[in-house]
Structure formats: structure tokens, C-alpha cells
Amino acid sequence: MLATDPKTERIIADFPILARPTSRGKRLVYLDSAATSQKPRVVIQALVDYYEQYNANIHRGVYEIAERATGEFERARVKIARFVGAEVAEIVWVRNTTEAINLVAYSWGNANLHAGDAILLTELEHHSDLVPWQLLAERSGAELRFIPVDNRGLYVLDDLDALLDGCKLVACAHVSNTLGTILPLDRIVSRAHAAGAVVLVDGAQGAPHLPVDLKALDVDFYTFSGHKMLGPTGIGVLYGKRALLDAMPPFLSGGDMIHKVAYDRSTFNDAPRKFEAGTSNIADAIAFGVAVEYLEQVGMEWVRDHERRLTGYALDRLAAFEPRGLAIYGPRDPELISGVISFNLADVHAHDLASILDTEGVCVRAGHHCTMPLMEKMGWSATTRASFYIYNTEADVDVLCAGLEKAARLFGV
């Protein structure tokens, strides 16, 4: 076992939940950050501060606490914009990645997709970047196409130009939530644009783990969720290029998104507020701003290096179980994947394995990971998934492996 570096030790100390033992008295080994991340104390405190000190609605009240709430809410938008290299007006608050993708599918999609057009996805998409496009295809008559993946979960781009022919939209995950595969955006975006397609990248697993500069990536839409990157649930972001957002009709309508309302008609606010109908998740947005500040202080290059090192260590340790039937899915190269490893232990069902690991304090995900078509294609009924973040260590991987030993012994493999 390697010693934990001082920086990781300091990070761990910032997460109150990691100091709480489980009901069995075990140390909590949280390996499910791809589902949702844990929250540092400063993020939790930001929620408390809002509710205890300046709880008020935004954009309307002229009194002191309302001014402060509006100011903090809009400052959070500035922080997010800086974090991903966007302009402030390009950051739309939504509930989560799923809502962001639905917003684009309904607002941009309904206006721009027609029978005969194509939508290009990949075979690795999470249901949230698949089902909204299936419904758009049904509404518009557009055709769905898929960039294939090989049996190691790597993208096969040989036929990309043919797939892009007649394509209006490319929508793909920055990082696969099931296998960790990192999308080679540099090989896709410019070719998609050359073919006349708009590019949406589902960044739910990208923004938390990789340095993201949206101007450099040149994608048209980018979506991410606060709760997967140290922030609260219920707050997420749709990034859209200014010109695209300006041209799009509203999605949800009502208060706060209007310019002038008469009984028979209305005009609408400018983007991004055109898309923010009703009272936003004010506290959650403010706390999300604190979360990205925390990540900036840690440094996203450090985050990527830390996870790459940890993933390499985990792949090496897990490989020792292969003679006893451990199967590792996805690319086995830490350079090609984010901190996500899917596996199965012989014929032990993923849910049984997860229950046994739970007795050792280890939290992993078991199931289809909201990628049922991928599981079907690969012939996997369920997998166990360990996913890493800034507070995980080699010691966590060692506890995971001790749990695998226990499961192997119980099931006699």
C-alpha cells in the first residue's frame, strides 16, 4: 500500500461524511462518485448560510437580503462560466444534465430537426442522452444513428464521415459513465461542424473529472450536474453558444423568463434567463458556485492526474483476481479512461457482490448503469462499477480488494 499524499489527506479532511463510520463500524470507502459525489464542508455551509442569513427570492426584491441573494446567485453563474471557459450569458441554470438535454431536444430540436435529418449518438450513451433524442426522432421523423464501440468500449470512428452525412446534431458523452471511456472530441467536433452538425456534449462525467475549456473544445452545447462535482443535487447547467441560445424559443415558460406580459401575448427575457422559468434552486446554485471554486483551488489538472494514478493502481490490483474469474470491462488504459472501472467476479451477480462489499464499508454501484442498450450489445446482464474522485486513495482500492477476497471466499470462486 502506498502512503496517501498530504494534499489528498487535506482534501479528505474537508468531507465530513468520510469521517463517519458505517453502522458496522467500518471506514466509509465511497467508490460511487459517478453516481453522485460527496460534498465538502464549504459547500454544505454555503447552503446553511443562504437559509440562515439571506433566504429571499431573486431578481425582484429591493430589500437587503434579496439583493444579497440575487448577487450570490449571479456570482455563482460567473464562477461556473469561468470554470468551463464560457461567457456568463451562455450559462443556463437547470436542475441537472437530464433537464439540460431535454431543454435542447425540445427547444432547439423541435425548431431544427425535420424528417430526413439524422441525429448521431454513440453506443455508450447514458439513457439521459438517448431517450430525449428517441422522442425527438419520433416527433420530427429524424433518424437516429450511432457511433459504434468495439468490445473494449473504444469508439470506432472509421465511418464517421458517412455517419455525419445529413446529420443535424451530434450528441455524445464526454466520459462514459459505465466504462469511463473519454470521447476523443478533437477527432469529432471539427468534422461534425464541417458536415453542418451542431455538437452537444453530455459532460455529466466530464466536467467533474477533466479540465474543460469550452471555447477551445468548440462544442455548441455542454451539459453537467452539480451533484456529481461536489455540489448539491437539483442544480445543473446547460452551456450553449450565445447565438444558438438567442435563436432558440423558450422551453418552460412562466415567471422570471419574460420581458413583457399582456393577457394575450408575451415577449421574453434574453438568454440565459429566457430558459429559467420560475424560482430557481437558489441555494443549490450558490453552493454549486462554491463547489467549482473548491475544484479550482484543488486544480483540475491535479484531479485528472490523481484519478489517472488511482485508476492505474486499481487496474493493477484487480488484475490479480483475473485467474479467479474477475472480468474487467472497458479500456484498460488509464490514459483513455476517467476514474471508472466496471467489472464482474466470476459468476457472482453484481448485486450480490455489491451487498458483500457493503458489509466492508465499500460503496459501489451494481446494475446496468442506465446504459441498457450497451449492456445488451456486450452481453452483460449487470456489472459492478467502482468510480473514483479527489478524496479516494490507494487505501480505498485495497479495501475494495479485501472485499473481493471475501466475496470470492463466500461464493467459492
Partner: protein, 145 residues
């Protein structure tokens, strides 16, 4: 061995899941009883647990209102497969009308230990499918009744 004679789980919290993976449950998982298909079934049903992807199919032979033979097939976790296997042992010779009335307690008695809420659907899938076969339409989840 009848369920009531099985050694009960100890109450120590540290053994909750270890208990679940006791010998007789793993034995039913590794060597499921009445596993396979009937040549001709008088009643049948199948369903899956979308959370885990567990699948169970139950086929019954019924003579004079009594279950004279039963087969189950499927795949999934040890809890779903072992509880289905134990159910097939329990219902041979039972009145079909009584099979339709089986409650979740029958399964919980068979498995003999506590089941966490998220794994309850795994344990109840076999019973749901069995009751569906008995009544000829999709039955509700026994743990929700």
C-alpha cells in the same frame, strides 16, 4: 429441511449480509431445485426486476386443483434465484388457490433472515411470478400489498 428448522440468523448486525449468503442460500443458488422447463404447463408466467435485471419464469402442472409439478428458469442474483428455488419446493402438492394467496412472509420464512429494502424486490420476484401464474394475470409486488 423445512424453513422453520433452518438455523436462524444471529441478531448481530455485523452478520446481516454474511447471513444472507449462508450455505443453504448459496446451495439453492448453485444447485437450484426444479430448474428448467415443463414439457406442457397448465399455468405459466414470467417477469423481471428492472432494477437488477433479475428474470424468473415459473411453469406449473395442475391436477385437480393441486400443483403436481413445477419448474422455474431465469437468471439473476443469489437472492432472487435461491428464493425462487425454495418457493418451488414449498408449493409442490399445494392447492393452486392457496398458491395464489401466498404472502411475502412465506418467502421471508424460507430465506430465514432479514432483507434490506433495496434487495426486497430480488427476494419477491419469484413469488410475484408464481402468483401471476396461479391467477392468470400479472400479480402485484408481494412486498407492496
Amino acid at each position: 429441511m423445512p424453513a422453520s428448522k433452518r438455523p436462524r440468523a444471529s441478531s448481530g448486525s455485523d452478520n446481516r449480509v454474511d447471513d444472507f449468503y449462508r450455505d443453504y442460500i448459496l446451495d439453492h443458488y448453485r444447485h437450484p431445485r426444479n430448474f428448467g422447463r415443463l414439457e406442457r404447463a397448465d399455468a405459466e408466467a414470467e417477469d423481471l426486476n428492472p432494477l437488477c435485471g433479475d428474470q424468473i419464469r415459473m411453469e406449473l402442472k395442475v391436477d385437480d386443483g393441486l400443483v403436481s409439478d413445477v419448474r422455474f428458469s431465469g437468471k439473476g442474483c443469489a437472492i432472487s434465484q435461491a428464493s425462487a428455488s425454495m418457493l418451488t419446493e414449498r408449493i409442490k402438492g399445494m392447492k393452486l388457490a392457496d398458491v395464489a394467496k401466498l404472502s411475502k412472509d412465506a418467502v421471508l420464512e424460507d430465506v430465514g433472515i432479514g432483507i434490506s429494502p433495496t434487495r426486497m424486490k430480488c427476494a419477491m420476484l419469484g413469488l410475484r411470478v408464481l402468483k401471476s401464474a396461479a391467477i392468470g394475470e400479472l400479480a402485484g409486488w408481494p412486498d407492496e400489498e
